[in-house]
């Protein structure tokens, strides 16, 4: 998936990937896509929950060898 920005959260546990995602999405333009790299399994449930609460769009997650690529589109409006 194409992303406008990639955030490296490898080696980080809750709450850092979510806190960093929140800061990174703040800097994006509306509609842009953030890719988050993470290896804490908690991200699989945490990121959809964060998106639901903040109104950003959860686009999906790819898993490979214990690493996750998570995609989030910044909400418009």
């Amino acid at each position: 998936m194409d992303a406008d920005k990639t955030l490296d959260c490898l080696g980080l546990y809750c709450p850092m990937p979510i806190v960093k995602t929140s800061l990174a999405v703040d800097e994006l333009d509306e509609g842009q896509v953030l890719e988050v790299l993470a290896d804490d399994v908690g991200i699989k449930d945490d990121m959809p929950a964060w998106c639901k609460t903040t109104g950003n769009e959860f686009l999906g997650i790819e898993e490979k060898d214990g690493e996750y690529r998570v995609y989030v589109r910044k909400r418009s409006g």
Binding site: G11, L12, Y13, C14, P15, M16, I18, V19, T21, S22, L23, A49, W50, K52, T53, T54, G55, R75, G77
Partner: protein, 167 residues
């Protein structure tokens, strides 16, 4: 159409003055702040230790209060684990394990909470009973504190919030 969810609110009563419980409080506060929630933390009783200055003496009137504040000195550097403190060895080990796992230390979480707009309110009743001068920058890290209030303020905030925790 605006599908932005209404801003949710959370309150946390930080009653405990132990490192592990303070960490749990601030991990939840920073995460909620990152989720766009309005977070208010009320520090009361032993929880006041989290906001005490690390340096210098804590002054208080009367022999009983002096003894209390000497034995219960507080400050983030002095907080113990609620289990396995073991004269400091257990607490030092947990701090090392956390650092090795890239988990932020308490001070860093507190700074992040402030950056995310989390409000810190100090309970004036506990301060009065313990002889702590709430507005005195020699006792408390007043630069972090947004307000001094009592139970009615807490309940006012709690009735307006979706998530209310007592830690």
């Amino acid at each position: 159409m605006d599908d932005r969810p209404e801003k949710k609110k959370m309150t946390i009563i930080v009653f405990s003055g132990e490192l592990d419980k303070a960490l749990a409080s601030f991990i939840l506060a920073t995460t909620a702040g990152s989720m766009g929630m309005e977070v208010t933390m009320f520090f009361t009783f032993w929880g006041l230790n989290v906001l005490k200055k690390n340096e210098g003496p804590i002054k208080s009137p009367g022999i009983m209060r002096k003894m209390l504040n000497r034995m219960n000195r507080g400050g983030t550097k002095r907080l113990h684990l609620s289990k396995f403190h073991m004269m400091g060895a257990g607490t030092a080990m947990i701090k090392k394990l956390m650092a090795d796992s890239n988990i932020p230390q308490l001070e860093e979480l507190m700074r992040m909470a402030k950056d995310l707009g989390v409000k810190f309110i100090v309970c004036t009743t506990s301060c009065g009973m313990m002889g702590l001068d709430v507005q005195n920058p020699e006792a408390f890290r007043t630069e972090l504190i947004d307000g001094y209030a009592g139970a009615a303020t807490y309940l006012g905030a709690a009735t307006d919030a979706e998530v209310n925790l007592f830690i």
